[in-house]
Amino acid sequence: MARISVQSGIFDIAAELAALTAGRTDIGGIGSFLGIVRDDHQHLVALTLEHYPGMTERAIAAIAAEAEQRWSLLGCTIIHRTGRMTPGEPIVLVLASSAHRQAALDATAFLIDWLKTRAPFWKREEFAGQGAQWVAAREADEAAAQRWQG
């Protein structure tokens, strides 16, 4: 059963890791992905994440269920922040635990690839002195998600 949270506040990675491992000794490894607000050209002031409440949680649960079907996971955590964030702030956390590293690492990559292309979030960037604009979807993200098809 995955732990899923869509929240405005920051998350505590150590606490999330501890929750995944609490009371069990069958986990051999945890794959993790921490997404961070990146400023490519020193102009980004902030990033604002809009989402579709209700559908977001439903879409993430479906993605987590798909990962649990494909790999033998012992636990899974997906936390995605919404609202306004500044460069350097954490934005998304994916954890997948398994008896063996390959399943944990592969499931983590799958989860973030599908999260980027199959969950209803939209990024809006604010630039210094240049206003704001909605981020366009990237073909590379769709290609990364497509490699898990089939």
């Binding site: 999260l115 980027k116 292309t117 199959r118 939209w122 990024k123």
Partner: protein, 92 residues
């Protein structure tokens, strides 16, 4: 909290730049005559006001969900449904 739908009504939601162009995040509409799919609804909304016309001007950049599941433009819709329009997603 979202207003309850009356019989025969449809909830329409807009997100990101579609919301900005339409100028609202939500409409509650009586199911329009002649509308039976998502594509029909897009055309009906676009013909109704300039903001919606701007929002739907490039249909290839518009994605849709019906009752909170991603849905292609040919999906059938009925009174009581929640239909959402938004750009391709950019989370993660």
């Amino acid at each position: 909290m979202a207003a309850e739908l009356k019989p025969g009504e449809l909830r329409v939601l807009y997100f990101a730049w579609l919301r900005e162009r339409v100028g609202r995040s939500e409409d509650i509409l009586a199911m329009p005559d002649g509308v039976s799919t998502v594509a029909d609804l897009m055309a009906w909304l676009a013909a109704r006001e300039p903001g919606a016309a701007a929002a739907f001007a490039q249909p290839d950049l518009v994605r849709c969900a019906v009752n909170q599941d991603f849905a292609p433009a040919e999906t059938a819709i009925a009174p009581g449904d929640e239909v959402a329009f938004f750009p391709p997603v950019t989370g993660g």
